[in-house]
Each structure stands twice: as C-alpha cells, then as structure tokens.
C-alpha cells in the first residue's frame, strides 16, 4: 500500500497492466493461495480443442473461475461434469487480459474423497493395530490350486482377464465364480456373502478377489471394514487383485497375497503349464537316462556272466579233455614210434649179423664152397684124391676143378 500512496498523484496513475500485475504479485506471494484445495460444484465445464479445461466452481454464495492446462488435464483419472461436487487443487492467480483472478488447478477429485482418505487411514490403522496385516497371519498360496474360487462381478473385465489367465496357465483347475457387485452400496455385503458361500460350498484351495481399475470411490467396497475382515477370516487363502498397480485397498492388506491387478492375481495363484510340461519332460528324460544306464549296466554284467559261463561250459571241458587226449595220443604215438625205432634198429643189427653169418656173406668175403660131384661138402682133405672133379661155388657163380695134389695137411 505504501507503494500505491507514493503514486497517488493523477499524473502518475498506474496503467491497468501495472495494477493488474501488482494484484497478481500479491496473490502469488500468498502462502495459502499458492497451494490450496477448494471445494464446490462444477458449472460451465468445457474442454476446447486446445485441450485445456475451463470450469467454474461455486457454492451458494460465490463462484471461482478455474482453468487446468492440457498437460495436467491429461494426467487426471477423473474429470467432472457440470453439477458435480468436486475438490480442486492448485494456486490462485490473475488472468491479466480478463482482469480476473482464477484457480490454476493441477488436481481435481470428487468431493468427499479427502474424507474417504481420512476414513481409509483410520481403518487401516485400526486393523493394523489388531494385527490383521501381520505377515505371520498370511497363509501360503497352495502350489497346486486344483479348486479356485473367484469373487468378482460376473460382467466385468476382471472376470474375463482372470479366466483367460487361468485357461492359459492352469487349465487343469476347477473354477467357481461367486458373483458379487464390486462397487456401489450393495457391494460390501455381496462380497462378504460370496466369500462365505465359496468357502462353505465350493471349498476352494484359493480365492481370487478381483476388480478392474477405477476411481478411489469405485474401489471403495474393498476399503470396507466388513470386507477386509471377511478376507482375513476366509478359510481358503485369498489373493487380491484390485484396481491398478498403484491402488492399495484395505482388503489388499488383509489378503494373504496382494496382486497389482486381477490378471496378476490369477498368475500368482497358479502354476504355469509351460513349467509343468518342462517338469514332465525332465522326468521323462530321467526315465530314459535310467533305462540307458540300466541297460548298459545289465548289459555289462550280462557280458561278464556270459564269459564266465563260457569258461565253465561242458563244451570247454570237452575241448580241454580233447586236448588232453591229443596230448596222450601224441605221447603214445611218440613212445610207440620210439619203440619201433628201437626194434628196427635192433632188427637191422640182427640182419647184418645174420647176413654176415649166411654162406652168401661168407662167399662175398672171398671164401668158396667146395663140394664133391654128389654134392657133399668137402670139409676134409682126406675126402679127395688126385683127379677127383669138384664143384667150386663163389659169391657170383660156380665152376668145376680137378684135384691136382693130394693129402697135404695144412
């Protein structure tokens, strides 16, 4: 204000721009106005081609122009319609050309969400204090969930996603859907009843509790105290998959396993048949390997046995005996031949001796056989007288001679 009083002379009046800029500076330097939540009813909501959002917030006594630039508008999960009660967050500044102050909003949410969040925190703290979130309370998800219960809306995308995932991964399972509204006033009661019925009637190995993404209000049934307690009390372990990855609900905290989405819940709860098939193939290979090594082993001992058998076979004995016989025969033959040789040698000697003794042999040595005409052998000189004819036999023939002298004793 001091600055203004300095320029009070009409000669030095402020330009509109100067004044407006001054107001703007004032507003923008205010701590509250720079970071504020405003609650009101939406009117004149528009989003021209520029992508920016314009609307007015009002209550029964005042109204406030609001703008949200395209970059921020694109990030909102929720955009209001005229007549809705919302809470908008941002900073207050001046639109100089229009001479208007307005809220430059960066977030907008349905009214009451802030209160909901407080309620969320209160319930979370309470149940946490009771130990309902404790890790020791969490039951393991069975490795083989043959029976799978599903609690979700029968018409939602969550059911389709979960069933598709189960078909792809684990078609061996039996599934029972317990339909329940997943948003609106009736939802908590229906979800609790569905959990109870499934446990009582279907007796599943695991329960998938799912819901697709939505606003925090849409997901509110899963922040209901009754639902959270029913999840904790379920006989079968519960896998929750509510909303998107960033959404946490109280039911997520009391569930035995929290999955970021319904699809992920179905994945976390089941084995994948690809892995089952791999496991099966491994076992098949183990069997075949066993067979090969077993046959190898049995084959080797068989071979050894056959060898031992062959060594002890009667045939082998016969062969051995025959060899022994052969030996005998050979030795006998040798002995016989030796004897024969000896005999022959003896015979030869005898023969020679015999030959030496034969008259022929004597004749061969130059002696002659002399006989009288009547064939009588002449053994004595007294047997002959002069003029007697005699026969002389030598080795190769005979001839006649006459005695020319007589009786001369040698």
């Amino acid at each position: 204000m001091e600055q203004l009083s300095f320029f009070q002379s009409p000669d030095t009046a402020l330009s509109v721009s100067e004044l407006t800029r001054h107001v703007r500076t004032l507003l923008e330097s205010d701590e509250l106005l720079g970071d504020v939540w405003v609650q009101g009813e939406v009117s004149n909501f528009s989003r021209p081609k520029s992508g920016h959002i314009y609307f007015t917030l009002k209550d029964d006594q005042a109204s406030l122009r609001c703008v949200m630039w395209r970059g921020m508008a694109d990030k909102q999960t929720y955009l209001p319609q005229d007549g809705e009660a919302v809470e908008a967050h941002g900073g207050v500044s001046v639109y100089e050309a229009g001479g208007q102050y307005q809220l430059y909003a960066d977030r907008i949410r349905p009214a009451g969400e802030g209160a909901l969040y407080q309620e969320f925190l209160r319930l979370k703290e309470k149940l946490e204090g009771e130990g309902l979130f404790d890790a020791e309370r969490k039951r393991p998800i069975p490795a083989w969930p043959g029976r799978i219960g599903i609690v979700t809306s029968p018409t939602g995308a969550a059911l389709r996603d979960m069933l598709n995932t189960l078909r792809r991964r684990f078609p061996l399972a039996e599934v029972a859907l317990a339909p329940a509204s997943v948003q609106g006033e009736a939802a908590p009661g229906e979800i609790m009843a569905a959990l109870e019925d499934l446990n009582e009637i279907f007796k599943p190995d695991v329960i998938l509790l799912g819901r697709g993404g939505g606003s925090i209000e849409d997901l509110w049934a899963f922040n209901d105290e009754g639902v959270a307690r029913a999840v904790a009390a379920s006989a079968a372990p519960v896998v929750s998959g509510v909303g998107h990855e960033t959404d946490f609900t109280i039911a997520d905290f009391t569930a035995d396993l929290r999955a970021p989405t319904p699809t992920a819940a179905a994945e976390l709860a089941t084995p994948d048949q690809t892995e089952l098939r791999e496991e099966l193939t491994r076992n098949r290979l183990d069997l075949v390997q066993w067979l090969q090594s077993a046959l190898g082993g049995f084959g080797r001992s068989l071979e050894a046995a056959v060898q031992r058998l062959a060594m002890n076979s009667p045939l082998q004995r016969v062969r051995r005996d025959r060899q022994r016989l052969d030996d005998h025969a050979r030795r006998t033959e040798r002995a016989v031949r030796h004897r024969a040789d000896l005999l022959k040698a003896g015979l030869d000697g005898l023969g020679q001796r015999l030959a030496a003794l034969s008259p022929q042999g004597v004749l061969g040595r130059g002696y002659a056989f002399v006989s009288q005409a009547d064939g009588t052998a002449v053994r004595s000189a007294a047997q002959v007288k002069t003029g007697d004819p005699l026969d002389v036999r030598v080795a190769d023939g005979e001839f006649g001679v006459e005695v020319t002298g007589e009786n001369k004793k040698v």
């Binding site: 083989w144 043959g146 029968p154 069933l163 189960l166 078909r167 684990f170 078609p171 061996l172 399972a173 039996e174 599934v175 029972a176 859907l177 317990a178 339909p179 569905a194 019925d197 499934l198 009582e200 009637i201 279907f202 048949q273 089952l276 098939r277 496991e279 099966l280 076992n283 098949r284 183990d286 069997l287 066993w290 067979l291 077993a294 049995f298």
Partner: protein
Amino acid sequence: MAKETPLEKMSYEEAFAELESIVGKLEEADQPLDEAMALFERGQSLAKHCGDLLDKAELKVQELSEDGQLSELE
C-alpha cells in the same frame, strides 16, 4: 506292483507325484531287472498320462448361485 491305480482314475497331481517317486526309486536303489523295468514302464505311462491330461485340459468354470447351487458358467 499289484496295487497300481489305473491311470484313467488319476489326476495330474497324483500321476505326477507317482512319476517323481518312480524316478527317485529307479535312481536310488538297485532293483531286480524285471521290477525295475516294470517301474520304468509305469513311469512312462504316467508321464504320457500327465501330458495327455495337460493337452486335453479345459478350464472348468462354474457359477455359484445365491441359493448355493453350482452350475456351468457360459
């Protein structure tokens, strides 16, 4: 081997558990050849049965009605 469960009555889980135990038995113990061969053949059949079950498996989906009845879901 007299009390073998007929394959067609066995769930995947049961058949696979028996298959694993057979592989274990064959790898651990020295069985007589005929018994070992019988185990081997049983193992082969179990593995085939499991494979068939997976191939033929079709997710069975039922709906639990409010009065507690289970019926096929379209």
